[in-house]
Subunit: 365 residues, 2 copies
């Protein structure tokens, strides 16, 4: 495993190539997730100025000590005034005349303040420079996501032991979140979804007061966030027995997911991976009950590029991408089934990173 | 207590006055916190178009049912395409020629896409319309924050009972967060800060592996998020005994906080409330060890306007504002003390909303 400084150096080299390609002299990075990715910095309220020599991290007294330890290869500027004011002398010193910024993460107000502070500097909108780099997970990132998966899986095993009938969705979500923390998570990757019966038919249900009963279908969509990286998985459990209609729906979703996972590999068109699952569900007459896309990238955020839906006809999977594969069937007012795993695209095919049991007979509580 | 529809109607009336005053025909509201505030909607990925008649909520199939129940007085548009595309026909139908947007929450990319989609409509940046309204908490909001305080206080009592020496900061934070969930919180208002001894000297410490020992100083900064509203409080506990230097520092922070709280009332200049605490700390020779502002507003977010620091010489407190009052003294490498309560500005003075014990003799574990 390379050391963090080498990893950061490699990300920096890829960034500098992009900076040259986009014909700018430097890039202002303001999104904390991007700053963390490029500098290995874990604090907040700090910006990165990349290009034109050594990268420069602009931070404040709260993070000075931490930045020194985490970012040995960056010039540190400990600001006393605001970030916009602190950046101006650095840009000037570096002689940057064309400074790129990310229009997807820069607000209209911030751009207007930067323009005032950086007179004489051309501010150039350049989309998805860092986002583009982040789509391909390097070895350190793959390891971080594997680690998050391990934490989530340990928590899931403890959670299954602690599930009791009579618990509310809210209580069940609290239990799983607590188990993730005890297993080493900094927190849940996103608000954990716990849906019992009819609640499970809403793809983004907020856990409420509905209680688990014998014969209930329990859908749980969860992930751990550890060291800045997340995982994302969904499992469906059955309390005591499997209703016969649920058995059929579960098997169908299971089959659809397997078909899609089989299609994951370098060069696969995104919409075609989606179609592999969707076709099976639609052919069985449930096309209208699967209204969301098949999956999405994960990394520092739970929703990253690429998106894998029916409309994503242009993009292709590349080695290093990590995507969720999560088909579902939602029967309004009754129940829903979604099965979700995280899959790494490898040079030759794919590797499923999540190993939590999902065979139907294993899902009975 | 007025019903939610009346509260939303009142917020709408205040918004329409602002829309007229800013000489626009309508306002596009894209920030989910603002949409929730104005429409009573608790879902995501939905925008509000206010002004020019009945308010219009643009949402999608996932939230259609929920929006119908939560927003009876709004026209609902269940979009099939993207938000930017869905908004255009609504703006045209309403005959809006000057449409306001918030430059603080609108990205450069979004504005550019809106411009393309809304040809012939003048997009006018109007700062802090909804943010301004949200600074003054109405009765429903005050009640929501009181409720969050109640949840946090119940959790704190349970947490104190469960603290054991030998626990790490991370474990302690997990315990408090779990107690907040069990007491009814949707989650922590922000990542809970737990600092033992030297860690407590960093105002934004991330809980780590440091363990609580006899004689340790334990700083805990936490808050509950319930129904979209938060509280924010800090307490310092002592494991077994109070080190004599910590006793002196604690008393000083306690005195400084009391002096600042006494100044909270309608018309008080923000920086003067800060100065009331800062003067006491500086006079005792700890001015350099109190480097952050005295406090900030709370509401849907943990940091809202107004900010109460030494530079906030222009603004004044107004009835309905709810602010934190949180002076601190941080002795690098040794320990830190911060005491934080949430205070409502009333017509005649103030009301402290948080009632967790803070007298020194009560803080020994």
């Amino acid at each position: 495993m390379p050391r963090m400084t080498e990893i950061v150096a490699d990300r920096g080299a890829r960034l500098r190539r992009e900076i040259r390609r986009r014909r700018i002299h430097g890039l202002l990075v303001t999104d904390p997730l991007d700053v963390g990715y490029l500098a290995g910095f874990t604090g907040e309220d700090s910006w990165l100025l990349a290009g034109a020599g050594k990268g420069c991290l602009i931070t404040d007294f709260r993070y000075a000590e931490q930045a020194e330890a985490e970012c040995p290869d960056f010039t540190l500027v400990v600001r006393r005034a605001g970030l916009v004011e602190a950046i101006a002398p650095v840009v000037r010193r570096k002689g940057i005349k064309r400074l790129g910024f990310d229009p997807d993460t820069t607000t209209v107000s911030l751009l207007s303040r930067l323009r005032k502070s950086l007179k004489g500097v051309r501010l150039v909108p350049v989309q998805r420079i860092v986002g583009g780099l982040r789509t391909i997970k390097d070895r350190a990132e793959q390891q971080a996501i594997r680690h998050a998966v391990g934490v989530a899986e340990e928590a899931w095993a403890a959670f299954r032991k602690n599930v009791r009938r009579g618990m509310t969705e809210g209580r069940l979500a609290a239990e799983l979140d607590h188990q993730m923390r005890l297993a080493g998570a900094d927190g849940p990757a996103f608000p954990t979804i716990v849906g019992v019966d009819a609640s499970a038919s809403k793809p983004h249900h907020h856990p409420g007061a509905k209680r688990l009963r014998r014969g209930s279908v329990l859908l749980v969509d969860f992930g751990a966030k550890v060291g800045g990286y997340v995982c994302d998985l969904t499992r469906v459990l059955f309390a005591g027995r499997i209703p016969s209609h649920a058995r059929k729906v579960y098997s169908l979703v299971y089959e659809a997911q397997a078909a899609a996972i089989a299609r994951v590999g370098p060069g696969a068109v995104l919409s075609e991976v989606d179609a592999a699952a969707r076709r099976i569900i639609a052919d069985a007459g449930f096309g209208e009950q699967f209204q969301h896309g098949l999956g999405h990238g994960i990394g520092r955020q739970v929703h990253e590029a690429p998106s894998m839906g029916p409309r994503d006809v242009k993009g292709r999977l590349e080695p290093g991408m990590i995507v969720t594969v999560e088909p579902g069937i939602y029967l309004r007012g009754r129940f829903g089934v979604r099965i979700e795993d995280d899959v790494l695209v490898t040079a030759k095919g794919h590797e499923v990173l999540t190993h939590v049991e999902k065979d139907l007979e294993m899902m009975v509580l």
